[in-house]
């Protein structure tokens, strides 16, 4: 077991875990932040997406030992984030969610996209969101919501 000092949503946190523990389980089990979801566990579905130093990151495949001093931002902080707030609003106004399980990850990926590419094309959206799977098939609404958020953020 090792002790790690993390910065999660701007707050210093300390955890003592096995170095190989994925960040996802540190968030969910150690810090009780359950907004980030477990989907596939192999980085193939995107449900566990968080931001690591601003980069959309699959927390299920990143061992806590490799996080270093990079700040971690989770879905719990999106309501306070200027882009995250807009994305969450359009997610509601466009009735994007069906079962909702994957949408923590969808929103985190969408925010990462809009922060680095404020006016994404359909292709940009499809490529950037292509690793975030939705078993309910809400992809069309996700794309429309991202385009709406893009318009609102201009």
């Amino acid at each position: 077991m090792e002790t790690y000092k993390l910065t999660v949503n701007g707050q210093p946190r300390e955890v003592t875990v096995d170095p190989g523990t994925p960040l996802l389980w540190v968030l969910r089990e150690e810090l009780k932040m359950t907004g980030t979801k477990y989907g596939c566990g192999i980085g193939a579905c995107g449900a566990c997406t968080v931001h690591l130093d601003g980069v959309a990151t699959r927390s299920c495949v990143v061992p806590v030992s490799l996080v270093g001093n990079r700040p971690i931002v989770t879905i719990e902080a999106m309501a306070e984030d200027p882009v995250g707030r807009v994305v969450q609003d359009v997610w509601v106004s466009h009735d994007v969610v069906q079962c909702g399980y994957c949408h923590s990850g969808q929103i985190m990926a969408a925010v990462a996209l809009l922060k680095s590419m404020p006016k994404p094309t359909d292709t940009d959206i499809e490529e950037s969101m292509g690793g975030n799977l939705c078993r309910c098939g809400t992809y069309v609404r996700i794309r429309e919501a991202i385009k709406a958020a893009s318009l609102q953020l201009r």
Partner: protein
């Protein structure tokens, strides 16, 4: 009269010695020339043999999976398309929601089976070692690409040797860590030390490339 004869004999002797020396030296030089040619041919042959060793490494999945001609990387020993709809992106580092570093960190994550090294990214399209149908290019074509400074980030032979010796992604290929099932990833056919030695031999031979058959 006798003194003149002695003088003439001495001159004749000196001439004979000079002619003999010259012919001996010329003979030695002419024997050296074929040796030089043989040595040159031998150096080139050794260089080409070393290149084939380098080629065997470059075309191993640990290397060639990220030297594609397509819009995506490959993974696994069967070189299948990278899962999760990963795409190349404008700089070979993926796209905003799906950058290489979305999963690949600074080091191998053996507990989760994701490989990692500093600056994980796809090789540029100019350094593609496959065709658009994922078929590996010939030894000749890969050699030409690797040595073409308009394609290889302007690396000369010393630069190529340094790249093969020190580049973190090259080093990763020889320490690729564990896959998702916990087993060690397969390694290129040479150790890193052998790879660098083969590159050095090839570089010192002038980076010769084989002819297409």
């Amino acid at each position: 009269m006798q003194a003149n004869n002695i003088m003439l004999r001495a001159i004749l002797f000196i001439l004979i010695v000079c002619v003999w020396s010259a012919s001996t030296l010329t003979g030695a030089a002419s024997r050296d020339e074929p040796q030089k040619t043989n040595a040159g041919g031998s150096i080139r042959a050794e260089g080409l043999a070393a290149w084939q060793q380098v080629y065997a490494v470059l075309t191993h999945p640990r290397c060639i999976n990220c030297h594609t001609a397509t819009d995506y990387p490959q993974q696994g020993d069967d070189r299948h398309r990278h899962f999760a709809n990963v795409v190349r992106g404008p700089t070979g580092e993926g796209v905003p929601g799906q950058q290489c570093v979305t999963c690949h960190q600074e080091a191998n994550a053996d507990s989760t089976g994701v490989p990692g090294a500093h600056d994980w990214h796809l090789a540029p399209l100019s350094m593609q070692w496959q065709d658009p149908n994922d078929k590996i290019l010939s030894s000749t074509d890969v050699c030409k690409a690797v040595t073409d400074r308009s394609k290889n980030n302007n690396l000369d032979s010393a630069g190529l040797l340094k790249h093969h010796s020190e580049e973190p992604l090259v080093l990763w290929a020889f320490r690729p860590g564990r896959g998702i099932d916990g087993s060690m990833r397969t390694l290129p056919p040479l150790t890193h030390e052998q790879f660098v030695a083969a590159t050095r031999t090839w570089a010192e031979a002038g980076t010769p490339c084989p002819q297409n058959p």
